[in-house]
Amino acid sequence: MTQAWYQVLSMSFGYLGACIIALIVLLSARKVLSDSALWRRVKKGTPQSGAAGVLRVISAGNRRLPAGTEISVPYEGTMGASHSCDMCIPYRRVHMRSAFFWVEPGQLHIVPLHKDGFLVDDVPMGPGDEAVLRGGTILRVGDLKMALELDTRTESHLPAEPYVTSARRTKAQQGRGEGIGAPGKGEMRREKKREEKREKEQTKKGGKPLKKERARR
């Protein structure tokens, strides 16, 4: 083969290569898009995908959280009253960014960041503790009671019962634990006042008076 013919071939290969790579880019873009569409369809078909379970409100905390409300639990993230949290619990006793959590097979691990008085099956947890919750565990703060329902998919045979780290549990048994998670007296008073004020405004407007919220103790 002569040099000239080689040049012709190699130059045509340049054109061919450009066509091939352009096709590849187009095809891959279409593949990415079609795959994303498939993913979206699957997600539409599975309401729970992306979530490991729900927290169901059993007894109402306030009007925004009536009994029966379901708060979906993602596989991990943060929990708090703020809307930016992955698990949003709009309740006054819950801190804006109260805890972070993650789901392991059959269990939800929660590590609180603040003292907002969460009780796990009546055992209090404080900042830094690691609480392990199973499906059916009751999470309580103030009047708000929530039951955890984990997906059957995430269940496994591992832990026997929910626990809050051992140190915390001894404290609870000794009867000292209760105080730690609870709000102080001043805070309670302020909150009561706030509640009364709101109630007054509500009656002024002529709306239904709020159901008075009982303090926890």
């Binding site: 080689y6 290569g17 790579i21 891959s28 873009a29 593949k31 029966g68 596989y75 059957t152």
Partner: protein, 554 residues
């Protein structure tokens, strides 16, 4: 990114579809007239779907040569699956017994669930259906579709023709082993995704990029091309191993610790035993293996340890081990005078930190610190000064310091839109043409259009990776994939920007294309991480499909 996903899930607050619910829905569904699913035009063209559901299982068993293939084309099957699931959930919502779980569940009381009784035979049937559905779910998510097949074939054509040209150009018999890349590439793209945790599209694109690298190297420097092809095979093995690890391993604590220790040790190696080469001391000689660059392989351990610590720990203090490790790596790289790689490490760390905790102020502080370090480096190292000066005006010293960049620009300019042809031109004029400056060689020989589309291929790779990591349920996986993508992107931008004189030149390799065993192997290994993450997402999707579809074949 994962957060967005979770947010949408959170807002949905929707009904839970359980196994008992599924049975119930089936009961309801049987009474209703079976709705025919409208098939989309394009899927209908390929293989029109006449009947949904009933005969699907039988069809799947008989008409298909492979058990995993769906009854119709994967697309339409998925569509049908999805829409059926939709109708199922609608039925549930309509059913009064499920209504208490529907909507917001405002003020509804909770009643115990009733599970329908099932006879033994029904149970057996159910198990069978289970298996069939699982197979179908796998088929939907793992099907090799026409587009990827097409990409694989195009790549094979490109490689085969390019290598033939290289042979004709004088490379001769010696590049025979490179032809092995064609079947290996086809195998990896078309068959392996069924059995291995490999994402077909990423594999196809990676394969194409490596193919381009080998073809170009074979024409300009056949011996290097052969070696590159060998390292490609080695890298594929590494990639598969790592993707299996990422897919199956559950606890990464030990691995992260181990990789950190090994990483530090590996980075000390060249300082202890290496030689100064091109103003850097980043190579080390290893018996039976030749020379290799530890900083390339340490990228793996950096991504792994950062992802582990950033995902399991939420405060900066707890993240410290990983940050310290990254800082130690940076320090060692500075000692090696390998500033380009140091920059990649630094930017990757910063990006992962931001993605992990979204802490903008701290990220900005880190960025400012980096800028400060860059200024100090500029003042301290003479060769950095030279590089910046040559970036600003390479024509001031066209025969000595600006020679490399000028020759690269001349090569790009001489190539024109469609190149001077494979094996033509004089790319050997550019120092390090086979390595850092392979982009200029590609632009000269195959043209600017090809070069820019190569960048588009990288972009596709990153886009695909980004869609995969947003599907992961764990922030660990997300961070792992994110680190890989950031590393890939930053490295490409740095070297291509350097070659076209958009950024100061930093001596890093071009991922997949550049000659270099360590570089290619580490890039493929990084892709292995992405494959693993993608495979987890794929498994999740299969689970979702399985979970959402009530079996209705009976």
């Amino acid at each position: 990114m994962a957060r967005n996903e979770q947010d949408t899930a959170k807002r949905r607050r929707a009904v839970r579809v359980g196994e008992d619910g599924a049975a119930d829905a089936r009961y309801k569904k049987a009474k209703e007239p079976r709705a025919r699913q409208p098939a989309k035009k394009e899927s209908a063209k390929k293989e029109p779907i006449k009947k949904e559901g009933t005969k699907r299982a039988a069809k799947a068993a008989s008409a298909r040569e492979t058990p995993y293939k769906p009854a119709s084309s994967p697309k339409s099957a998925a569509k049908a699956e999805a829409s059926r699931a939709k109708s199922a959930s609608k039925t549930q919502a309509a059913s009064p017994r499920r209504a208490r779980y529907a909507g917001d569940g405002m003020g509804k009381a909770i009643a115990p669930k009733e599970a329908p009784k099932a006879s033994r035979r029904e149970q057996k049937d159910r198990q069978k259906r289970e298996a069939a559905r699982r197979d179908r779910a796998r088929a939907v998510s793992r099907a090799a579709d026409a587009k990827v097949t097409m990409i694989a074939l195009l790549t094979a054509v490109f490689e085969a023709l390019g290598l033939l040209l290289a042979t004709a150009n004088g490379a001769g018999e010696q590049i025979g082993i490179c032809f092995l890349m064609v079947p290996v590439g086809l195998l990896m793209t078309m068959a392996m995704p069924r059995v291995l945790p490999i994402d077909p599209l990423i594999m196809a694109l990676t394969n194409f990029l490596c193919g381009v690298g080998v073809v170009v190297l074979c024409t300009v420097s056949p011996a290097r091309g052969v070696r590159q092809a060998e390292f490609y095979m080695l890298g594929l093995v590494g990639m598969i191993v790592i993707s299996e690890i990422v897919l199956h391993m559950r606890r990464f604590h030990g691995l992260a610790l181990l990789s950190m220790l090994l990483g530090i040790a590996a980075l000390i190696l060249p300082l202890a035993f290496g030689e100064w080469q091109n103003g850097a001391k980043n190579w080390v000689e290893v018996p039976f293996f030749g020379s290799f660059q530890p900083s390339e392989l340490v990228k793996l351990s950096l991504v792994l340890s950062l992802a582990y610590y950033f995902s399991t720990h939420r405060t900066v203090f707890q993240m410290m081990p990983a940050i310290l490790f990254a800082a130690a790596c940076l320090g060692l790289l500075m000692l090696q005078r390998d500033l380009g790689t140091a920059l990649i490490y630094y930017l990757t760390t910063l990006a992962m930190f931001y993605v992990a905790c979204g802490n903008m102020p701290l990220t900005l502080i880190g960025l400012c610190g980096g800028a400060g370090a860059a200024v100090v480096g500029y003042k301290m190292f003479a060769h950095v000064k030279v590089r910046v000066a040559m970036w600003r005006n390479p024509w001031s010293d066209p025969l000595d310091k600006g020679y490399q960049i000028i020759q690269a620009l001349l090569a790009i300019g001489s190539g024109g839109l469609f190149g001077v042809g494979l094996g033509q031109g004089t790319p050997e004029q550019i120092p390090m043409y086979y390595n850092d400056f392979i982009f200029a060689v590609i632009c000269e020989q195959l043209g600017l259009v090809f070069g820019l589309l190569v960048l588009a291929v990288y972009l596709m790779l990153i886009w695909r990776g980004a869609t995969l990591i947003t599907r992961s349920r764990r922030s660990f996986e997300m961070l792992l994939g994110c680190g890989v993508l950031v590393m890939l992107g930053v490295q490409t931008v740095m070297i291509v920007g350097g070659v076209i004189k958009m950024l100061p030149l930093t001596g890093v390799t071009m991922p997949f294309l550049s000659y270099g065993g360590s570089s290619l192997t580490s890039c493929l290994a990084l892709m292995g991480i992405l494959h693993g993450v993608g495979a987890r997402a794929r498994d999740n999707m299969e689970e979702d499909i399985l979970f959402s579809k009530p079996a209705r074949e009976a």
